[in-house]
């Protein structure tokens, strides 16, 4: 009898250790959930649990060893790398997909395209009126994501030349809130993921070569790398659990997994 109980417990642990835990970025949450769902359907013996909380939460869990995979919409920060080193975790990084960011304005806005330099001016607060960039005489209302979101960091680094946002930028808790606000505020400008673009807002063409060519954000331009504002989405894991997470990561990077990436609205790797 005792032996049976022990073997049941051991078996339960063995099954439990098969479960892969994914934690982190809320941006990647829909992607990981969809991937995990299909992955589990294909391999019924595997169990994947996905939770959000933010990139920082995921990486902290990776440091504590309470997650197998940390999903992050930004690269590791230096202090996180140091902490991983202190905890004796050698980590590996996998790019799962790309996310294109579109700059959006109110549909009534005359302006249809902006250069990177103009965007920088608007978001750091140097350009305050739409007439300075060829629009109507109206105040520019800048909407941004929260300072700690990966989207914010990426936008700052790639569009604003690492300069800080203006003080009076309105920061919204979620992409949905940005879309709602931009659609009801005439002078608004903001940035959202490609998947979120709909008819209530207008996506701007962007130029990264000082106004020679303007590229509209779309799945095609993001895929063929002509659209410049594209960021990678990462999975981080400890090399100790590599064997455990490999099957899931292989699935994400497979043709089927990458098809899901596109379905969810992100840009596949190839």
């Amino acid at each position: 009898m005792k032996r049976v109980i022990i073997s049941v417990i051991v078996l339960a642990f063995a099954i439990n250790s098969q479960a892969q835990r994914i934690k982190g970025s809320d941006t990647m949450l829909p992607l990981s959930q969809k991937e995990a769902e299909t992955f589990m359907k294909n391999n019924s013996s595997n169990k994947v649990t996905v939770t959000g909380g933010g990139s920082g939460v995921g990486i902290a869990a990776l440091i504590d060893g309470t997650t197998d995979l940390a999903q992050a919409s930004r690269k590791l920060k230096m202090d996180e790398k140091i902490k991983l080193q202190e905890a004796g975790v050698t980590y590996k990084e996998v790019i799962a997909a790309y996310d294109a960011l579109a700059v959006v304005v109110n549909p009534e806005n005359k302006v249809g395209q902006l250069t990177r330099e103009q965007l920088e001016g608007i978001f750091i607060g140097k350009i305050k009126n739409w007439k300075e960039v060829g629009g109507d005489d109206a105040k520019i209302i800048v909407y941004s994501r929260e300072t700690s979101s990966g989207t914010y960091e990426f936008f700052k680094e790639h569009v604003m030349n690492k300069k800080n946002f203006a003080n009076d930028v309105l920061s919204m808790p979620a992409t949905g809130a940005i879309i709602q606000s931009v659609s009801q505020t005439k002078g608004a400008i903001g940035y959202v993921g490609l998947a979120y673009i709909d008819k209530s807002i207008k996506a701007l063409k962007v130029s990264y070569d000082k106004g020679k060519t303007f590229i509209a954000p779309s799945m095609e331009t993001a895929k063929n790398k002509t659209y410049p504002v594209v960021r990678p989405l990462y999975y981080y894991y400890s090399s100790k659990v590599e064997a455990k997470v490999k099957s899931y990561l292989d699935f994400v990077l497979s043709t089927e997994g990458q098809k899901i990436v596109e379905q969810v609205g992100y840009v596949p790797l190839k």
């Binding site: 209302i141 800080n164 606000s181 608004a188």
Partner: protein, 403 residues
């Protein structure tokens, strides 16, 4: 004989459970408070420079220390000459870690980045106006540049600072004045709106309304308290924000006023329920005496009912305020969260709870940003503590007066 003993034992057990649950709750509260302050206070031993990084300059540069604000201005291209920060007349040249790839080839850097320390050292030595933001690990003993020192974050600067850029690199700006002011603006606005309305409704329900009206209205008002705050927030964003925008003809509708209105609606059930209950404790004999003396209904309310229940009404107001100050989600959605100092109710503001809710998930745990958010939580705790102590004080006064 056995029965009373069992009863006694049963009573003892119940007593024990009650004592235990009481002490466990108190212990949990104390632990949470200690945790809050312990996590937060570490902030003041931190340098505003991102952990693991240093700022280095040329060894001939007379500048030895820079404060967080000048560092931010330098890296925002606001300050472009060393003269402005106490150095010689020389253009400031910014250098980030990633810039190394555009200066040296991959061969020069080495496959395992082993040449980086030497390259950084040479670079800071050869460019006189350079300020480089590089990882500490690449600074070795024969480094030819000079490391810039920065003061730790000071309590006074933290409380009076006007800029909130907790994730800014190289130097984070953690000034919480705009956040404290934002919280106060929104809360005061909410009180100004909800208090008169709440009082009016509670007096109406307690004294004037027909019992049938009261029996329908009160549950409906109490139902308001059960609606999740995110629903209020969404309602605010979709209905109140555009309304404010068109009524006041503003460029943007996400304002302190929108937050105040939503909070006022959310605080109303608390205020109405408690105030109405306390108004209804006015003894019937007192009211009848007043009416018998020839006072009108209004005079009775004004001279008898309100003075009698004033402490209950105050407690209702203060509990309503407590709810307003601590409310997170609804405010997060409608106030615009711009961390600038508000000059009127028609400007976007950022409150303390909204800041914590929006940023805690993404901050690296134990880091400076994380600690700054915990200090914000502690400040919020102190504010609510003051509010609650006021309630205690007022209700104790009432007991004395009744004796």
């Amino acid at each position: 004989m056995a029965k009373p003993f069992h009863k006694k034992l049963f009573e003892k057990i119940i007593e024990g459970i009650l004592t235990l649950s009481g002490s466990i709750t108190s212990l949990a509260v104390i632990l949470i408070v200690i945790f809050l302050f312990k996590e937060g206070l570490g902030l003041f031993n931190q340098s505003p420079i991102a952990k693991g990084f240093v700022l280095v300059v040329n060894k001939n540069n007379p500048v030895n220390t820079l404060d967080a604000k000048s560092i931010k201005n330098i890296f925002d291209h606001e300050i472009t000459n060393w003269k402005k920060v106490g150095g010689e007349r020389d253009t400031i040249i910014l250098f980030y870690l990633d810039d190394i790839n555009s200066i040296y080839t991959e061969e020069q850097i080495g496959q395992n980045l082993e040449n980086l320390p030497t390259l950084f050292s040479n670079l800071t030595d050869s460019i006189s106006g350079i300020i480089a933001f590089i990882p500490k690990t690449y600074i070795n003993s024969d480094f030819k540049g000079k490391v810039i020192t920065t003061d730790n974050i000071k309590v006074s600067k933290f409380l009076s600072g006007k800029e909130w850029f907790p994730t800014a690199e190289p130097a984070a700006q953690v000034g919480i004045l705009p956040l404290i002011l934002g919280t106060l603006w929104v809360s005061i606005g909410a009180i100004l709106l909800s208090l008169p309305l709440g009082l009016a409704v509670s007096i109406y329900l307690a004294e004037i309304a027909h019992p049938r009206v009261r029996n329908t209205f009160k549950p409906i008002i109490e139902l308001l308290a059960g609606i999740p705050s995110v629903v209020y927030g969404f309602f605010g964003l979709v209905v109140i924000v555009p309304l404010i925008q068109s009524v006041f003809n503003l460029p943007v509708g996400e304002t302190a006023l929108a937050g105040s209105i939503i909070l006022a609606i959310m605080a109303l059930p608390t205020i109405i329920t408690i105030a109405e209950d306390s108004i209804r404790t006015t003894p019937r004999s007192m009211k009848e005496a007043s009416l018998a003396l020839g006072a009108s209904r209004w005079q009775t309310i004004y001279k008898i009912v309100i003075p009698y229940s004033i402490s209950g009404i105050t407690a209702a107001a203060i509990l309503g305020i407590g709810r307003a100050i601590g409310e997170t989600m609804a405010v997060l959605m409608v106030t615009g969260n711009a961390a600038s100092i508000p000059h009127s109710f028609l400007e976007p503001v950022r409150t303390i709870p909204a800041t914590i809710a929006a940023e805690l998930g993404e901050s690296s745990q134990g880091g400076m940003h994380y600690q700054a958010l915990f200090i914000l939580g502690s400040i919020l705790f102190v504010i609510t503590l003051i509010v609650n102590l006021t309630v205690e004080y007022i209700s104790s006064k009432q007991k004395l007066a009744k004796r």
